[in-house]
């Protein structure tokens, strides 16, 4: 029996796990964006604080993912075994690229443009929404793209703490010493990552060329 037949016969579960996987990544990216974008914007003008926060996010990034999942299990409210813990861990990983690119993207806007915007009487809010964010959008999106691809990969490990997703096949295959089962998780995860990268890359180019 080849791999393709295996996946076909188990297409129900492959699909179910893929949906779980996308759900884990989607939820964690949503949280990371909700925290990362406003925090990044708030940090643009606070250089000292920015170094600390980015440093902190950097340290989180260096924690091996399996260890981070493990660390979070005993934490009250967000911890425990299951999807919510995995989502928190994935969001923490996604935070660094989003934060960093929000800061560098906004800081990279031509100072002459900012000076003109202030000098012409735009309020800080108008400057942010009409000038800084649109001009930083390609850089911001690059961060979101990196974060998404990382999340899709790391989310396979979430199965270790019972969060589901395509990692379920991988762990099961490792336990069964069965490559077909491993690949039933690994290949769809890789396809998801490549698809997300291509789609966000195309979107990023369309923004940059505007």
């Amino acid at each position: 029996m080849n791999w393709f037949d295996f996946v076909l016969r188990n297409r129900g579960e492959v699909l179910e796990r893929s949906v779980e996987h996308v759900g884990l990544v989607g939820a964690s990216m949503g949280i990371a964006l909700l925290i990362g974008l406003p925090l990044g914007i708030a940090l643009v003008r606070r250089e000292k604080l920015q170094r600390w926060v980015l440093g902190g996010a950097n340290i989180v990034q260096t924690i091996p993912s399996l260890a981070l999942f493990g660390f979070l299990i005993p934490v009250p409210w967000i911890g425990g075994v299951g999807a919510s813990t995995a989502i928190v861990a994935l969001a923490l990983y996604a935070l660094l690229p989003i934060l960093r690119n929000t800061c560098t993207g906004i800081a990279g806007v031509d100072p002459a443009v900012i000076e003109a915007a202030r000098g012409m009487g735009m309020t800080p809010r108008q400057m942010l929404w009409q000038v800084q964010l649109p001009l930083a959008a390609p850089v911001l999106l690059a961060g979101i793209r990196v974060a998404t691809v990382i999340s899709i990969g790391v989310a396979t490990i979430a199965a270790a703490i019972g969060a589901g997703g395509l990692g379920v096949f991988i762990f099961r295959g490792v336990a069964m010493v069965n490559n077909q089962v491993i690949l039933a998780g690994a290949i769809p995860a890789a396809v998801l990552a490549v698809a997300a990268d291509l789609a966000l890359g195309a979107f990023q180019r369309s923004l940059a060329s505007r």
Binding site: A112, V113, A116, G119, M120, G121, M122
Partner: protein, 261 residues
């Protein structure tokens, strides 16, 4: 007499009194500056880089806050104005134009009218009028992006944008400084004609003596944040202060190399 002097004062659109600006580090960029600009006049702030001329400009529209002294715009101190309202009533043109690269020429020019929530139809007419005024026909230029313009054209759009909401005062920070000599001369000539027609009160920063003499109703020479003197153009060329002579020397053949002496 007091009444007369009050009346005299109110004829100034812009008054600068004892203006000092100090950085938190203690460095003084502008020191005890006193200047007035009457309606329809062009005051040129002339000086070397670091003389405090751009700082003075930014103090007028409150991009910076005075450390000491005050600036009166239309008889009111700038600190009593809401800074956003103040800035929308003062046109601002900078060296690199500072056009929004993600907006069309049309949208750039419409900036302040749209912030002021003019009706769309009025904005549309005004933008066309402004583009015609600066010699960029709307049919050809309105839809272009700033990246599709030459340096001179960008600066024209910058002027159109600054004039769009019809502010009584215009601040210009070396607006023609980055242009080639031919384009610069062309824009200076057109700008002078424009100013004569529009009766704007202008503060114009430059380090170019020729430009100062050509455009200025008065020339205020700054050196290390202090006012050296406030001259009519014809007084300037004859003034004896060494700082003035140093600038006037750049008018001589040999371009201020010192060899002319």
């Amino acid at each position: 007499m007091a009444e007369l002097s009050d009346a005299m004062q109110s004829s100034y659109v812009l008054q600068i009194r004892g203006l000092t600006y100090r950085l938190p580090s203690g460095a003084t960029l502008v020191s005890g500056l006193n200047l007035e600009v009457g309606r329809g006049q062009t005051l040129v702030l002339l000086g070397k880089s670091g003389s405090g001329k751009t700082t003075t400009l930014k103090l007028i529209n409150r991009l910076l806050e005075p450390t000491e002294g005050e600036i009166l715009v239309s008889g009111r101190t700038t600190t009593s104005w809401d800074p956003i309202r103040l800035r929308r009533g003062i046109g601002y043109v900078i060296q690199d134009a500072g056009l929004f690269p993600h907006w069309s020429v049309e949208r750039n020019v419409a900036l302040v009218p749209r912030l002021e929530q003019w009706p769309e139809e009025r904005i549309r007419r005004r933008v066309k009028e402004m583009l015609d005024l600066v010699g960029l026909p709307a049919d050809d230029f309105a839809k272009r992006r700033p990246s599709e313009l030459s340096g001179g054209q960008k600066q024209r759009v910058g002027v159109a944008r600054a004039l769009a909401a019809d502010p009584p005062i215009l601040l210009m920070d070396e607006p023609f400084g980055a242009l080639d000599p031919v384009t610069r001369a062309e824009l200076q000539r057109e700008f002078q004609a424009l100013v004569a027609r529009l009766e704007k009160t202008i503060v114009f920063v430059t380090h170019d003596v020729r430009e100062a003499l050509f455009l200025g109703t008065r020339i205020a020479l700054l050196n290390h944040g202090r006012l050296v003197g406030n001259y009519l153009p014809r007084e300037f060329v004859e003034a004896s202060e060494p700082e003035v002579r140093a600038f006037a020397a750049s008018l001589e053949p040999g371009e201020g190399s010192g060899l002319a002496q």
